[in-house]
């Protein structure tokens, strides 16, 4: 897009980059905020149906479509309270920390080929790492509220998130190993084709590890049954007990943003990313197999694909939330340390052995192997061209030269 602006319209490159950045930021922000609106409504409806009620019915027609919007207006108008003993700066800062972490992680998330804010060669780890920072918002909120409920909630959260990062990291490494790259775009590309190319169906171990990943993901975004940090029956509302109004809604948006993010990550890592179960685009001849030449329609289709998968993931989380009882903190830790981590480790070893002895899989197909990718790197010194969708922060030399020319 930036090239388009520079070459066709003739904008100076810095302006083009800024424009692209602004558009990308705007889009991501909309995904989070708009997504949150939709998801909150969906959650209410789902909860109601599971509990055999109707849920919102009045605002905006029969299904209460506009309920979330009305809630949002209410929150905006609500008085913003701060407890007396609170640490003012930290109290105000905490929601933004949470929200920013969730938002930043979206930067590296590919929605389709080339539809990615920042293509990093360590995208997987970037997303997981930045998502892990969200916990700081919670901790700060818990501490700054000067309320024991908040503090308890925050401490539980800290313990839980740090623990669950271990099995989560192990699960994430498996697709990385299969694809031979930590680049999310590459990982998703490797799963192009039919349904069977998705990593979840790569072998039995990946199938198991997908569910481990999903469990850990639910835990790491603090959703029920792992929502110890805000267990309302014990801790009032946990870390956000003292928050109200817009600040509270920032926490809420961060939560829904993270839910969407881990689901989208699951989709990219295990469920084929933006590739549908049937390679429609290549069957119809819209793209000749290489993603670069695909028209924008294909990318749009990819976006829809990925969003659909991610939304399905979020809906399952809601389903779980309203079906399962909450775990105790010791059960949460047991799940992590005694079940998830060993299972993830075993499955990791299993996938490794599978790759070693059955590299083509049971069904011979055109699977990419990590070794092949590395070999390509060794021979060609880099199997990919420097990313064209260059980020703002990390400007490789190519674009630095562009900048230099425009001087």
């Amino acid at each position: 897009m930036a090239e388009f602006l520079i070459e066709t319209i003739g904008l100076p490159s810095w302006l083009a980059w800024t424009a692209v950045a602004a558009v990308a930021a705007f889009l991501i922000l909309n995904v989070i905020a708009g997504g949150a609106l939709v998801f909150i409504w969906a959650e209410r409806k789902i909860a109601a149906r599971i509990q055999d009620r109707l849920g919102p019915t009045r605002t905006g027609g029969r299904f209460g479509w506009l309920q979330s919007l009305a809630d949002g207006i209410k929150l905006l108008a609500k008085e913003d309270l701060m407890p007396d003993g609170a640490d003012g700066m930290l109290f105000r800062l905490a929601p933004y920390v949470s929200f920013c972490a969730s938002f930043c992680a979206f930067i590296a998330l590919p929605f389709a080929f080339d539809v990615v804010g920042l293509r990093l060669n360590v995208g997987v780890f970037f997303v997981v790492a930045v998502l892990g920072l969200e916990v700081f918002g919670v901790i700060l909120a818990g501490y700054a509220s000067a309320s024991k409920w908040s503090l308890f909630g925050a401490m539980r959260e800290a313990a839980q998130v740090v623990s669950y990062e271990v099995p989560l990291g192990m699960c994430v490494v498996v697709p990385v190993m299969l694809a031979g790259s930590m680049d999310l775009v590459t990982i998703a590309e490797k799963q192009a084709g039919w349904l069977t190319n998705w990593y979840i169906f790569h072998d039995p171990f990946t199938f198991v590890i997908f569910w481990v990943y999903y469990t850990c993901a639910v835990a790491s975004v603090n959703r029920a049954p792992f929502d110890l940090a805000e267990a309302e029956s014990e801790l009032v509302a946990g870390f956000h007990t003292e928050y109200s109004g817009l600040r509270w809604s920032f926490f809420f948006m961060a939560e829904y943003g993270s839910m969407f993010l881990v689901s989208a990550l699951a989709a990219v890592l295990f469920l084929g990313g933006w590739n549908g179960p049937v390679p429609i685009a290549s069957l119809l001849g819209w793209s000749d197999g290489s993603s670069l030449s695909a028209p924008y329609a294909v990318r749009l289709l990819g976006c829809a694909n990925l969003m659909g998968k991610a939304t399905a993931g979020v809906l399952v989380m809601m389903w779980i939330r309203w079906t399962l009882p909450r775990l105790r903190i010791d059960q949460v830790m047991t799940t992590c340390l005694k079940y998830c981590t060993p299972i993830a480790a075993l499955m990791f070893a299993g996938v490794m052995l599978w790759q070693l002895f059955l590299p083509g899989g049971l069904v011979p197909g055109s699977r990419h192997q990590a070794a092949a990718v590395r070999e390509a790197w060794l021979e060609g010194r880099g199997d990919r061209v420097p990313s064209t969708n260059v980020p703002l922060g990390v400007v490789p030399a190519t674009s630095r030269q562009v900048v230099g020319v425009s001087q």
Partner: protein, 236 residues
Amino acid sequence: MTECLLAATTWLLPFAAIDWHGLFFLLFAAIACGAAIMVVLTDNVVRMALHLVLSLGATAGLFFLAGSEFVGAMQLMIYVGGTLVLLVFGVMLTAQTQLVSLRTPAADRVLAGILAAALFAVLVQSAVSVEAWRRPGRAEVSAPTATPLGMALLGVRVDGDAAGHESRPLSGYLLPFEIVSVHLLVVLIGAAYLARAKRRRTPRAVELVASVDPPPPVQTRSEAGESASVLVGGGR
């Protein structure tokens, strides 16, 4: 028309040739340094932790800018997301009202400030005095990938041309990669041992030695701020 537009924007905005790399470097460096200094100046330990998070997060940004994306991501994941959460956890476990803000005596601060300024002056002087380090970077580099790093950790070096000297084979890092896991295991055992609450049923012989045990701890400290910090003046 586009020419006019271009000319107009260039005229309106004199920083047209803005250097994003330099700008982001400045931004991250400012955050890293500012937050680091705030860590020193703040008395409240929770705010110190926040500033530390900012500082180390910005350092991760600097790693990204230097092309070490993997190290940057690891810094975010392990350091900021793991180590610092642990530290904050410790802060909260010990966060009693009188311990949150332990003020340092002013004399210590002044002394430490002078020493730190001197140290900083020496370090900066040495950093800028080496001519080779002041030269700007190469313009032409390939996009970074984590492959050579991964191969190096496996014990195979594939990046021979980067280091410049070919006199001897570069070392692979298989051994430290493996041995550090043993270290982490041992350390984990040690930390778990110390954190385990279980009191022993029978005291060991060594625990009956009374002579070195001090009187029971005092809960409050009213005379806070009298004695010099143990690291500045009280080192014995």
